[in-house]
Amino acid sequence: MKVLKVTPAELDAMMQQWSKAHRVYAPALVKQPAASPNCAPGWRRVDGSGALTLSTGPTPASVKTFFFPQPETLLTYTLENNHPDKGLMREPEKSKEMQVVVGVRPCDARSVLLNNLPYQEDPFFQANRRRTALVGFTCDQSLSTCFCTQMGGSPLGSEGLDLAFSRTQDGFIVEVGSAKGEALVTGLDLAPADESEITALAARRQKEVKASSTELDTLKGRELGKLYDAPLWQPLGESCINCGACTFICPTCYCFDIQDEVVRGQGRRIRYWDSCMFPLYSLHTSGHNPRGQKVQRTRNRFLHKLKYFPDRFGPFSCVGCGRCVQDCPVNIDIREVMNDLLAVE
């Protein structure tokens, strides 16, 4: 693997260079004007100027918006009367334009790999993956809400990143993690990193303590019925207000709704983020609702992440970014839920 040395000024120049050929995005630390074309909420387009500033901890919005944008047009049709193709559904054109997302944290980079498991056969997600490069920055500092190490990640991880920047005394060393990353640095006059800096990073990674990830892994072997019937859900469901905020800011929540939208006779079928916190999510047409109670929906979210998803795909569907811990209006903390679940006999 190629490892390069980059100064802050060179990083600036790189971003300007990329933005000539591709769409380049960086985290928006202030609110962006609404409804700019091809916008990505929580992210700003980089168009040649402005240095990259990153906040400590995860970016304000997760990267799922680039792989699973909302809305995503699944198909289009016309409903114009007397049109020979009235009601005929057509495949939309998929954008092939490269997008480079700069400022991604290791937790979010892992989330793309996890979401790829259910989306392995999804043509839209895969097309977006092909056209998106992730330029990430490992974390020197963590927030009190960060728990990536518990979920099998690392603040210094480069998994899932096309280019991984790690801070050194006078700049960065950059690990090139893929062919896409290689393409981004091709033609740029960058020096290879010093051997001492590479060893220093490896040493820092070595020191990273993998917290209680092995303990958490014992959840996977637990009997579903015991976890499902645990007494912890009742009080948790009572405090949860089912606002769904956790599911929208979550990088690994990936469920969607599909709806038809018609404007002046031109229609499209779109998919967009849904949330299992909402009663409509599981409501039958008959009026029957298998998860009609709040406690059932709260339980579904946590068990999906910590039991159903691992049962199906192996890993937990959580990267420990802590956004839900930060933003929950009633202070529900998934780390406490995990501890409570581990204590279930």
């Binding site: 049709y77 009601g87 559904m89 043509p123 579903l224 019925g225 499902y228 969607f256 599909i258 999510y281």
Partner: protein
């Protein structure tokens, strides 16, 4: 890769099935010959009926794979898409996406067995498909018992076919209605009672039961009493669905996805699941 594109079809015929007019059978013909050839389903599978401007709904396929050249769907008018479909006419264009789900094990667990089919209300649709498939390869199966109940004679689906099946000697047919009705000289009583009276032997047998949850609940005890086990009984679950391909998560019952792992499960499989269906 999965596809969210439905096959374009035209409505070739519409039959009003029930006296309340709420159930209609739609005969759909593919617009494109290659799609018709590519379509290949197993009884018990479902498909998304797709209406431009309205959306999609998952409906069990009522036609048997042996009926070539068209598909049948019997649809209850209940929600947004089904109401719009009920207003459509012969010749109109719509879409079908599928087939989806697993279907009944007609080629595996059911082969060589006595088959007991128990249906209540309009859940009979995929069981009609199943029965026709079994009849097309009649020697592959043992005795076939078909128990079907509806509220009134006018709420029975596929009445012409029921008459034909009644003529056959290779089906043990029991059609029942909930209470006495003028002009009805057949069986009267709820499906669980009739199933108890018929008492099909569990030996070398498989049962397929589709109907309202309350019917399934009360049908099991009389069967268990004469020795039926949960592994011999197949049920079909339904849940709200969006993609039908195991991605969107809507239909999950615990770790199980009704659209992909089901909709057909053995009763022992269903018993392992949380009651979220």
């Amino acid at each position: 890769m999965i596809s969210y594109m439905p096959y374009p079809v035209r409505i070739d015929d519409i039959v009003v099935e029930t006296e309340d007019g709420n159930l209609k059978t739609f005969k759909l013909v593919f617009e494109n010959e290659t799609h018709a050839k590519a379509w290949n389903h197993v009884p018990g599978q479902f498909a998304m009926l797709s209406l431009a401007g309205q959306g999609e709904m998952p409906i069990g396929i009522a036609s048997s794979p042996t009926e070539e050249g068209h598909l049948l769907f019997t649809v209850n008018r209940a929600g947004k898409v089904s109401t719009a479909l009920h207003q459509m006419n012969i010749g109109d264009r719509m879409g079908v996406r599928g087939p989806l789900g697993n279907g009944f094990p007609v080629d595996t667990a059911m082969k060589g067995k006595n088959i007991v089919i128990i249906a209540g209300g309009f859940a009979v649709t995929t069981l009609r498909a199943t029965l026709l498939s079994l009849l097309a390869r009649r020697p592959d199966y043992g005795k076939i018992t078909f128990i079907y109940g509806a509220r009134t004679p006018g709420m029975l689906l596929y009445r012409d076919e029921l008459k034909q099946w009644a003529q056959r000697e290779d089906i043990d047919l029991h059609i029942t209605i909930d209470r006495e009705a003028p002009g009805w000289d057949g069986l009267v009583g709820f499906v669980p009672t009739i199933a108890g009276d018929v008492a099909p032997s569990p030996d070398n047998s498989v049962a397929l039961i589709c109907g309202p949850p309350i019917m399934i609940k009360f049908t099991m005890p009389p069967l268990e009493k004469i020795g039926w086990t949960d592994d011999q009984v197949y049920l079909s679950l339904e849940n709200r669905m969006k993609c039908g391909e195991g991605v969107c998560c809507h239909c999950n019952v615990g770790p199980t996805l009704v659209c992909k792992d089901g909709p057909v499960f053995t009763r022992s499989q269903v018993k392992q699941l949380p009651i979220e269906y």
